[in-house]
Every structure is written in C-alpha cells, then in structure tokens.
C-alpha cells in the first residue's frame, strides 16, 4: 500500500514537472524579429567591425528620418558586424544582405566575381568609398615602451596585438601601412624604394605579434583588457577609446596609409520593391549630413577636407599614402599581402 502510494506520488510529480516544462516552452514560440515589429521596410546590412557605432547611432536614424519625411515610410535596419573578410564569406555562403560596407575593396571584388554584386560600385561618388581613416599605433598611457614609429614595434620586449589578415581587412591595411611606410621613407632618404628594408621591418614586427584576433574590434577589446604593449589599428579606434577614457596614447607614424572603405549593394538579394530605398541609402552616405556624422565618430570625410580640418583630434601625417601607391587593390593583394606577407613573413619562422 505504501509502495503503491509513493509510486503514484512519483508519477504525479513526473507529470507536473513535464507539464511545467512543456507549457513554459510551448507557449513561447519563436520570438518575432525586433526589426519586423511595427511594419515598414527592413534592410539588412553587413558591416566590417568598426562601422558599428556610427551606423547605429547616426547613419541609420539619420537616413530613416530623412526617408520618412520625404516618403512617409518607415525604414529599419538589421545588421551584423565582424571582420571584413568574415562578412564577405558569410555573404558568399548565402547570408541575405542588402548592403555591405567593407574595409577593403578586395572584398567587394570577391562578391562581384561571385555574381553577388552586378552593378558597378565605382560609379558611385569617390569610386564607392564612403570614408577613410589612417592607420596608427595605440600604446599604453605615457608610452612606456617609447614607440614613435612602426620600426619601434620591432624592438625586443614589445608585445604587439595585430588582427588576423585572414579574416580582418584592417589587418591587411596594417600590413600595407608598415610595408608602404618603409618604402616611402627609404624613397625619401635614398631616392628609391627599398623593398628589402620594408620586408625586414615587417618580419621583425611580426615576430613581436602576440595574438591575431579576428577583427580590428576584437583586437581593440584584447588591448583594452590589458593585453600587449601596442596595437596597430584605425585612427578612429584610438579616438573612440580616448572618448571612453581608456588609458592609451595614439602614436601617428611618420608615414602611413589611409584605409578607404567601400559601400556596395548586394544586387542578388535586393528585391525590386526595396531597390529605390537601397539606392537612396547609398547616395545618402555621401551627403554632407552623413559625412559630418562620420567625422563626429572619428572617421575622416572623403568628400570634404574642411570637415576633417575642423576635427581637432585628428593627427597630422608627414607622408601619407593610399592604396594607389601600390597600384590599387588588384595589385596590392597578390603582390604584397600574398607574395610578401603570406609567403615571406607569415610562413617563415
């Protein structure tokens, strides 16, 4: 009798437990995507890591307000941010993005080769480039390792954080910044670019690299949590960190590259109904309003140098250069990232 009771009791408990679990979870069906509440059009944008703040805080609200006042129609954005190469691979694997903003033009090119981008982004203003920023060195407050230029990163005992060139566009810019900077300086000093010197500096710095995070933003988080003595990254990352009162200093190299970031429409996934909005959004990126927003978030304007001069925190670079110094991405990638960096720096120990 007693045995029977305890058995029945156990059964009741089992049913109660099962019912609670089931009812708890059965009722909560898949949550509705946040961007789809309230109607309107939803655009999906994949951006490289450091675009996050300016897009979410200024560009999206700015464009939505503009579109609404002109057309009375709500536009919302859903976005994902990661290393430039990572988001490109995601789109190549079938992620349905309407717009991509990349760190390097090579990624836009890869999407074109894959048939995802059919329109010519270079016909947009400034060949599709929406903003730029130079590559700088971030060091701990007071610069305890006395780092003044790229070459100082090769000194013994300096721990360098450098994003991974496989997944991060910023990492490729950084490699080009170091390599090109040595070429520029040698050209000025001895009249001709000294490839051997540039390779040697790149190798020596790479020996001091302590970790290679997946994106510029990941690299910054590592640096912020106290890892490493120096970080090569976009200038705006340093300025954003200063805004947040991080104990760091920004070191402007004598010569460095300006990274230029293209925005591209992923034609394959843009529905005919959304096309006018997507096109308007792209055009919006070169308006005075958007360019001002970029500068406010420490990108440098591509359309208006006056906006850049108004920004007091931007450093001055003695010998700046762009990707054109290497003959564009179509040459820089195979000749420097692959033949120099991958074959002669990364794979040589």
């Amino acid at each position: 009798m007693l045995l029977l009771n305890s058995r029945r009791n156990g059964e009741v408990r089992f049913v109660v437990l099962a019912l609670t679990l089931l009812s708890l979870l059965f009722v909560s069906c898949l949550p509705k995507p946040l961007s789809e509440t309230g109607g309107g059009t939803n655009l999906t944008l994949y951006g490289f890591s450091i675009m996050k703040e300016v897009l979410e805080k200024a560009i999206y609200p700015g464009f939505s307000a503009k579109w609404k006042s002109e057309h009375g129609h709500e536009v919302r954005f859903t976005s994902s941010f990661a290393g430039s190469e990572t988001i490109t691979n995601q789109i190549l694997l079938g992620v349905k993005a309407d717009i991509g903003i990349f760190s390097i033009e090579r990624d836009a090119d890869r999407l074109k080769q894959g048939g995802f981008v059919t329109s010519d982004w270079q016909q947009y203003p400034h060949k599709g480039v929406i903003n730029k920023t130079p590559f700088v060195i971030l060091v701990r407050k007071g610069n305890p390792k006395a780092i003044k230029d790229f070459a100082d990163l090769a000194k013994r005992g300096v721990g360098v954080i450098h994003p991974d060139p496989i997944s991060s566009g910023g990492a490729q810019w950084s490699v080009l910044a170091i390599y090109g900077s040595e070429l520029m300086k040698s050209e000025k000093e001895s009249g001709g670019p000294d490839q051997a010197r540039a390779l040697q500096t790149l190798r020596a710095i790479w020996r001091n690299v302590k970790s290679t995070p997946g994106s510029a933003r990941e690299a910054r988080t590592q640096f912020e949590t106290g890892f490493g003595d120096a970080l090569i990254t976009y200038e705006l990352e340093g300025l954003l960190m200063k805004d947040a009162n991080s104990p760091i200093d920004v070191v402007i190299p004598r010569s460095t590259i300006f990274s230029e970031h293209p925005a591209v429409v992923i034609d394959r996934y843009v529905s005919p109904a959304d096309r006018p909005i997507v096109n308007a959004f792209l055009q919006y990126l070169w308006t005075e309003e958007a360019q001002r927003a970029f500068v406010k978030y420490h990108f440098r304007s591509i359309t208006n140098e006056e906006l850049n001069n108004e920004h007091t925190q931007f450093g001055t670079i003695e010998m700046p250069f762009t990707i054109d110094y290497f003959g564009g991405w179509s040459r820089a990638y195979p000749e420097i990232i692959e033949k120099v960096f991958r074959d002669q720096v990364q794979n040589v120990k």
Binding site: L34, S35, S80, L93, R220, T221
Partner: protein, 278 residues
C-alpha cells in the same frame, strides 16, 4: 558493508583523510571553476544592480535569450524522441551494422562544433549539396531559426541517447514479457511498462540536451548569420558584445546563463532521486 566500514573508522578515532581530501577537492576546484564563475558575478554587479538590470533588459538581449530557449527546446524535443527510439531499436534488435550506427550516433561528441556548423552549411546552404535544389523553391534553412535548431540537434545528438540506452540495456525483459502474457499489446506494454521505468533517464537526458543546446556557440555562429534581434542567440550575443568592448552587457547575459545551468543541474541532481523510485 558501508556501515561496517564507517564504524571501523570511528573506532580508530578522527579520520584525517576526510577533511583533508574534501579541502583538497575544493582547493583544486577554486582556480579551475569557482573563481572564474565568481569573477563573472563580481564584474557583472560591480557597476551596481541598475546597470546590470539595464543590460539585461536591452531588447536585443531579451530576444537573444528567448531565441536560445525556443531553439534549444525544439532540438531537445527532437533528440529525446529520437534518442528513445534509437535506444529502443539498438538494444532490442541485433542486426548487421548495429555497432556502426551506435558509433555514428556518438560521433558529434568529438566533432568540433565549428565543423558541425560548416557541414550544415555545405549541405543546406543556398549553394550546398541539398540547399541548391531547395533554394529555387523558396525553402531556405540556413541563417534562420531553423538552422539554429538543426545545429543544436547535431551537436546534442548523442546526449539523450547516451542516457537512455544503458537503462534499456539493463532493463529486465521479464516485466515486459509478463505484460505480454496478460494480453497487453506492444503499444500498451511500451506505454505502461517500458516507458515508466525510463522516465528518470528521459528527464535527465532532456535536461542535459537542453543545457548543452542553450550554451552552443561554435556551430550557431556559422549557420545563424548572427543578426542581432533576428538570429542572434544568447551565446552569440555575449560574444558580439565582448568583441565590441561592451563587457558589462556580455556579462549580464553570462550571469543569466550561469544561473540557468546551475538551476538545470540542480533539478537534474534532485530529480534523479524521486524519478527513479523502484
């Protein structure tokens, strides 16, 4: 036996090994488990409960938690039913290839979760082996909640099966035979005799699967598309926030997940006692 031993110890007086070994155990766990967990709580509440609460109530955070729960639930429901069925078939019948099947079911334990995600992409992705034939018909699995469920099913595949099968193996057939001799059908026997003796295993298998699925990261980040407020689960949210340098936001959700697994394993621990009454 046990009581004899303990009384023998008593006769000899104070057993030094007891406090020493317990102390040693706790000491060893301190840097490995306790302190890392404690630091999440310390950091998460360092800026006050208000900012912790605000981080938790962010719409994207709530969405991520909900999505994790729902996708894990469906993966669990599937894997428990499948595990039950597979355990039944594999312990009742002996057939050619049986061992190969058992090994295959257990495989996902050792496969890196990133490989699991990658494999799913290669199969179901818009350009995958199967996906490319489905995509023109508007059927797309990847980068949706469905993809997250598939990934969860894959990585937690062996868990429920692994808990249920040993119970099947050791179950006395005589009860089922007795049931059959008094005229019960196969279904009746399964429902009234076999299933009740499995309930402990089913509940613990389900909880294990659910807990593991909620924490899944490696495969989800590949198949979900990682869109905040759309396909971003709680672990992906934590990773994204950490990468953005918003460590407080990441931490708030980490605390929720830590408490959640604590709850699940507590239930698991106590449930076993009152579910397995014989």
């Amino acid at each position: 036996m046990g009581s004899v031993f303990s009384s023998m110890r008593h006769v000899r007086g104070f057993d030094v090994a007891r406090p020493l070994s317990i102390g040693m155990l706790v000491f060893m766990m301190l840097p490995l488990v306790f302190l890392p967990l404690a630091s999440i709580f310390i950091f998460g509440t360092s800026k006050g409960l208000d900012s912790f609460w605000a981080a938790l109530m962010a719409p994207e955070a709530i969405f991520a938690l909900k999505l994790s729960m729902v996708t894990s639930f469906w993966a669990t429901a599937f894997n428990v039913i499948f595990g039950l069925f597979a355990a039944y078939v594999l312990s009742r019948y002996n057939f050619w290839g049986r061992n190969a099947l058992i090994v295959t079911i257990s495989l996902p334990t050792a496969i890196p979760t990133a490989v699991a995600g990658f494999a799913l992409l290669l199969l179901w992705g818009p350009y995958g082996t199967l996906g490319r034939y489905l995509a023109p018909h508007g059927i797309e699995m990847m980068f949706t909640a469905g993809a997250i469920i598939l990934a969860n099913i894959f990585v937690t595949f062996p868990l429920a099966f692994g808990v249920i099968k040993p119970v099947f193996d050791t179950m006395s057939r005589s009860l089922e035979e007795a049931s059959a001799t008094i005229g019960a059908t196969r279904v009746q026997t399964f429902w009234h005799v076999t299933l009740p003796s499995l309930r402990g295993a089913i509940v613990s298998g389900a909880l294990l699967t659910f807990a593991r699925a909620v924490g899944e990261f490696g495969s989800t980040i590949l198949v979900s598309g990682n869109l905040a407020g759309r396909t971003q689960t709680a672990p992906l949210y934590i990773f994204a926030k950490f990468n953005e340098g918003q460590i407080e936001a990441a931490n708030a959700i980490a605390i929720v997940l830590a408490l959640f697994s604590f709850l699940i394993f507590s239930v698991l621990f106590f449930a076993r006692d009152w579910l397995d009454v014989e």
